[in-house]
Amino acid sequence: MSGRRLQNGGRIDRSRPLGFSFDGKAYSGFAGDTLASALLGEGVGLVGRSFKYHRPRGIVTAGSEEPNALVELRSGARREPNTKATTIELFDGLEATSQNRWPSLGFDVGAVNSLFSPIFVAGFYYKTFMWPAAFWEKLYEPAIRRAAGLGRASGEADPDTYEKANAFCDLLVIGAGPSGLAAALAAGRAGRRVILVEEDRELGGRLLADRLEIDGAPAADWAAVAAAELAALPSVRVMTRTTVFGAYDGETYGALERVADHLPVPPPGMPRQRLWRIVAGRCILAAGAVERTLPFGGNDRPGVMSAAAVRSYLNRYAVAPGGRAVLFTTGDDGWKTAADLAAVGVELAAVIDARAEVDPALAEVARRAGAQVLTGARVTATRGGRALRAVEVQDGRGRQRIACDLLAVAGGWNPALALTTHLGAKPHFDEALAAFVPAGRLPPGMAVAGAAAGHLSLADCLADGFRLGAEAAGAAPSPVPAAGPDASAVRPLWQVEGAKGKAFVDFQNDVTTKDVALAAREGFRSVEHLKRYTTLGMATDQGKNAALLGHALMAELTGRGIAETGTTRFRPPYVPVAIGAFGGTARGRHFRPSRLTPSHDFAAESGASFVEVGQWLRAQWYARPGEDDWLATVNREVKAVRGGVGICDVTTLGKIDIQGPGAAALLDFVYANTFSTLAVGKARYGLMLREDGIVMDDGTTARLGETHYVMSTTTANAAKVMQHLEFCRQVLRPELDVACFSVTEQWGQFSIAGPDACDLLQRLFGDVVDVAALPYMGVTAFRFEGLPIRLFRLSFSGERAYEVALPAGHGDAFMRRVCALGAVPYGTEALGVMRIEKGHVAGNELNGQTTAADLGLGRMMAKGKDFIGKVLAGRPGLTDPARPALVGFKPVDRVHRLRAGAHFLRPGAEATIENAEGHMTSVAFSPMLGHWIGLGLLVRGPSRLGERVRAYDPVRGGDIEVEVCSPVFYDPEGRRLHG
């Protein structure tokens, strides 16, 4: 490869040289280079090895459609595989490494795969490596998996940050080439909110790469003037280094802004990338078109390049990608490359034009440059090892070999229409253009301009942009500047007769024309099957520059036209997007928000350990200095409550305020038991069922007034019950005059429990209210030190207990004050131990499969009213007496530990799932009994008290005998409630 930097020209800044390394070797380039242009300028042509066959590969394009030049960029934690050298902006100190080769790019042992290529055809893993069968799982599959993939992730934590942001506009213009600039100008001048998004760092698109004219002056100058005008328009926002990667429902587009990727390291506080959600009233897709390659043998050799890319390197980067060039073209467009090569003095050996006749004016350009012109001809193969040395050409007169180190290929243009298909539209094959163009039901509000719509000439691009921009803005059309000459005529060439050697139709996944033929032979004839069977189009480039060749070949093989064969639909993202960008700031601890209780700071200061309950952090236990064993801490807390008084923050349980004349009726409707009969100043335990008769939630609901109740729910179901009530109120019972409010956050709520609880509260509130006189399940409201207080006498622990509700901002002070009065703080573990000791059901038992009867609460199902779940709860399957029902369990050998999840088996029964008779739902070590206890669901449990069954836990290796007993282990008569 003998690429070199040209002395003059280009849009690089020769006053700012930059040093970089590739595969450990030092090179230099200039500000304004991409890694690809800098490598070419330094004469480097070999940049990678292909996926399966490890064939030497070079740079093919100058844009984000690049299939071959994938490198690992940076080192250490920031190393990113599969970055395209053609889009990496060069910075000083850049480090890049080639991929998929060992030990080196020049000498890659993996190239031996090429020798075995007959085995490694498409779908080989369905047909080979099958025997012996055991070897597949242990040897073949792991080996194939290891060989798969391109590049290596760093494996270290990502040190960069990502952000997400939202934007809104009247018009989103995707692409800032001639069409996009025109559209943005038209709409921006009319005062519309416009967002113009461009992948590149500069606006202009191919105006920066081709030598075109607008209004008699270089087109790049027009682009600069347009960019300046857009920057000054107040309602226009220009986003460079940003790619729109997807079209979504609701006129919403996803875009990735590469905020700091062009810098060695993001400055502090700057995210590396930003993911945008853009909602656009209208959208104009002006994403241009991608040049196709052609299916000749060895079309993947380093030195074979897109003709348009060659122009980009010559004109934008002042790099000649070779010293002696051949052009292979199917249309007038490719001849622009011949002219550009000649203009900078690169030797042009020959122009191979597939058409029978060529415009004499064009042929003259070649002859003046000393090049042979062959018409009705084609390149059939390339020669050279790791770099192109010659091409084999065939025409009517015969074959010849032409020495060259650069083959510029102009195979026609594919409109970049991927975004039009993201919501399901099917493109239409345009015979005249020999390409698919946008068609069908485009995303709502989207129009397509310029080359993306198949309008390839500069004049058409400008006209489209100004017209569609004005239409989108509802403005009068503005004058269109005059475009200089541009060429676009093309003759399609789908097959090269006499091609020798592998002809690739997907470079990145190493798919050849032979694979397409294999797929056709094996019956995978639809393009969607072809894609999955051969992996054509499934690499990171989504087959942008060659997949159509595969589809055209399939059309030919199956005797159909390309239009009938069709093409595959594209799916977002249009270019690869780092997963980190989708995550944004939701990483680690901040994956989701946390909810803290009013007493959180007190708990943290007291050394509490926290447990996540949904988004809430709840104190699990309060270890004292010297307490190393959580079980010892929990036992201490339980004994402190049962022996004295404890305080627990129960704010997280849902609280719903229900008001209005219809409140009582709503409660009777959603609860299985009756609440219209509840007296003012009393609370009642309620059971809520689902429509299908299964228990949904439980809680206590208090009546504060004739038309005023406050409901409590479990922590986990708070939001769900609130939604449920709203659904019942709005949809099922709209005639009820009632309002529901979530007040979980308004009230801090604390459980104060134990034989000394009444005393403590009497000391605290005694001047205002007679705490001792409050009956069990009573509730009273009063003011204390200027604050509204609600006092409930409820017990989850089985002790004499109260709940105090007060405005949440005073919760922390209340907790501290009550502790100062002698209460011991206890957490969710101790709370759980005590409720298990009393046989109270909780989330483990309300598991979405249990009925009221299963839980021993069948008596709560009111007979005299209708309620949600009543009818379906009566199904035979739900009233079967053989259903597993709630009972208690003790280990026969009291030293054994019980495990939740263990299945019950009759002694002597074989341990199969068919013989299982239920499972253990909750377990705890009971400090009051001195051994482990459990609750569980056992077939006909309540009639089997005293029986012994086996608790079988194969997951953790548990297998012990347990005794079936009452679920109320402690104080079965409930005397302590009134203690």
Partner: protein, 181 residues
């Protein structure tokens, strides 16, 4: 508890171009219409406060307080006076249900030239002056935290209300979103 209530926000970030303060000691209440109460509620509010009840997702203003629409028949009342919820409950008895939420939410005021850029990072609603503007109101989510927001003036100044328990996570969002767009 004779001490004042703790603020909802322990610490507040200082993003570039934005002043962030907590609005404390507010009287907040949720108001929900009862059957057929709209006209009566409008009449009583007009008589007691001179407030004209607006339609749609907007604020209705009176001296010292505003009603922020949170749905077709619900509002968040926001007042400088902590006694307002009780006053409203009494005033609207029979035509609307009122519940005190003064401790249920933390309310932040964001003001300054950088506010739109900052909010763009978490609010998926078009806040452009052409479509939102002072008096606009929205019920939305910011980083999965339910948020009620309204625009106070065109400085621009926005108030955002989130559940008290989310205060720490919300402040974390504001701190992270402080960089320029």
């Amino acid at each position: 508890m004779a001490e004042p209530a703790r603020p909802a926000f322990a610490e507040l970030p200082a993003p570039a171009g934005v002043t962030v303060t907590e609005r404390r000691n507010l009287g907040l209440a949720h108001v929900a219409l009862l059957r057929g109460g709209r006209d009566e509620v409008g009449r009583r509010l007009k008589e007691a406060f001179g407030l004209d009840l607006a339609e749609g997702p907007r604020c209705s203003l009176a001296e010292g307080f505003r009603l922020v629409a949170t749905g077709p028949s619900t509002w968040l009342a926001v007042a400088e006076d902590p006694e307002l919820p009780a006053r409203l409950a009494g005033l609207l008895e029979g035509c609307a249900a009122v519940v005190d939420q003064s401790h249920g939410y933390g309310v932040l005021r964001l003001s300054g030239p950088g506010v739109f850029e900052l909010l763009a990072k978490g609010v998926a609603i078009d806040l452009d002056p052409a479509v939102f503007g002072p008096g606009g109101a929205a019920v939305t989510q910011v980083e999965h935290m339910g948020t009620i927001l309204w625009q106070v003036d065109d400085a621009p100044t926005f108030d955002l209300a989130v559940f008290r328990s989310y205060a720490g996570s919300f402040a974390h969002f504001l701190a992270g979103a402080g960089g320029a767009v």
